[in-house]
């Protein structure tokens, strides 16, 4: 995206691209979809946002649906299940790697952030509470705390 938007087409300046990226990553939502909506809007308003959304979501769905159908046919074979269990084990490492990067950046020098992380993990992972309710309560508190710290820093 960076190459296409900034280097090749010069639609956005580098600093504009980076600040947009920061917003899209900070807000809830899947990053690539967020970016498509954001840049689509910046370029062509509402129509651009809709086109950006569709161009990101529907091709991906067009790929995943045949895969779903194939899984319906072959998912029952033990061989397929074993191979997928192996992929899942490796994929676990990918997800853990992502989590560890986010976690180390999040809790640096701040015990409250660590507490937020532990509460969210324990509540959802161990106690299996409903995710939406917990996040709706914890996220605003955590954002408020970050805002307060910025003010007083």
């Amino acid at each position: 995206m960076y190459r296409e938007f900034v280097e090749i087409r010069s639609w956005f300046s580098e600093s504009e691209f980076l600040s947009s990226l920061a917003i899209c990553q900070a807000m809830p939502g899947v990053n690539v979809v967020n970016l498509a909506v954001w840049f689509g809007f910046r370029l062509r308003g509402t129509r651009g946002a809709i086109i950006g959304f569709c161009a990101m979501v529907f091709p991906a769905l067009a790929v995943i649906i045949p895969i779903s159908i194939a899984y319906g046919y072959w998912g029952g074979y033990p061989f397929v299940h074993h191979a997928l269990a192996g992929i899942a084990a490796a994929a676990l490492a990918l997800t853990l790697n992502m989590a560890s990067r986010v976690a180390t950046a999040a809790v640096r020098h701040d015990l409250i952030s660590l507490a937020v992380l532990v509460v969210v993990f324990a509540g959802i992972g161990l106690l299996r509470w409903s995710m939406f309710e917990l996040v709706i309560i914890v996220a605003p508190l955590s954002i408020g705390w970050a805002f307060y710290r910025q003010r007083t820093a």
């Binding site: 939502g29 979809v33 991906a60 490796a90 790697n97 986010v102 970050a146």
Partner: protein, 180 residues
């Protein structure tokens, strides 16, 4: 078209849209809880399969919701689940993009970013834990996962090569260890 199923899918997945903090990986734990324990759409083994597919297939890993939706109600189910997760946050971002033209405030942006980071980390870790609970292959799974983590973190290995390797190892070992 089965409207009851569509409504159930919307009711389960729309709230999760707002929780996709830091990306789709953050909702894995609740997807597992809802589709395996609460609604019994999938067995734990099937969920594990779909998780693997979503990470190996092209496109965002969050398409795991479409894979689950497909198992519930075919193509309509996949569309419903995907739109339920992607549309609400896109609308929020659309409104924000509007507001941003007149009113930029970096302070809030930083606060949101810093405030949501530990929430995202907790959610993704919970997702890792929920997959670990249903993972199969015992010691093998642990060895593959730890080796892949090390290869990824310190050797900068290609993620897709690791996924393929994990699949091949399990497929070969599986023939001898877990006969059908």
């Amino acid at each position: 078209m089965n409207w009851t199923l569509i409504l159930v899918l919307l009711r389960v997945f729309t709230p999760l849209s707002f929780v996709t903090i830091g990306g789709g990986a953050s909702i894995i734990a609740d997807l597992e809880r809802q589709s395996v324990s609460v609604h019994h759409w999938l067995t734990a083994g099937q969920f594990l399969d779909l998780f693997a597919i979503s990470r190996a297939a092209p496109g965002p890993g969050s398409l795991l919701v479409a894979l689950i939706g497909f198992r519930v109600d075919g193509i309509i189910g996949a569309l419903t689940a995907a739109l339920a997760v992607f549309v609400p946050t896109s609308l929020i971002l659309y409104v924000l993009a509007h507001v941003w033209r007149y009113y930029r405030d970096a302070t809030w942006q930083h606060a949101i970013e810093r405030g949501l980071a530990p929430v995202a980390a907790g959610l993704i870790l919970a997702g890792v834990y929920s997959i670990l609970r249903i993972a199969e292959g015992g010691v093998m799974a642990w060895i593959v996962a730890i080796a892949a983590f090390i290869a990824l973190r310190w050797l900068r290995a290609n993620p897709f090569a690791l996924l393929a390797l994990g699949g091949v190892i399990f497929a070969i070992v599986g023939i001898y260890w877990w006969p059908a």
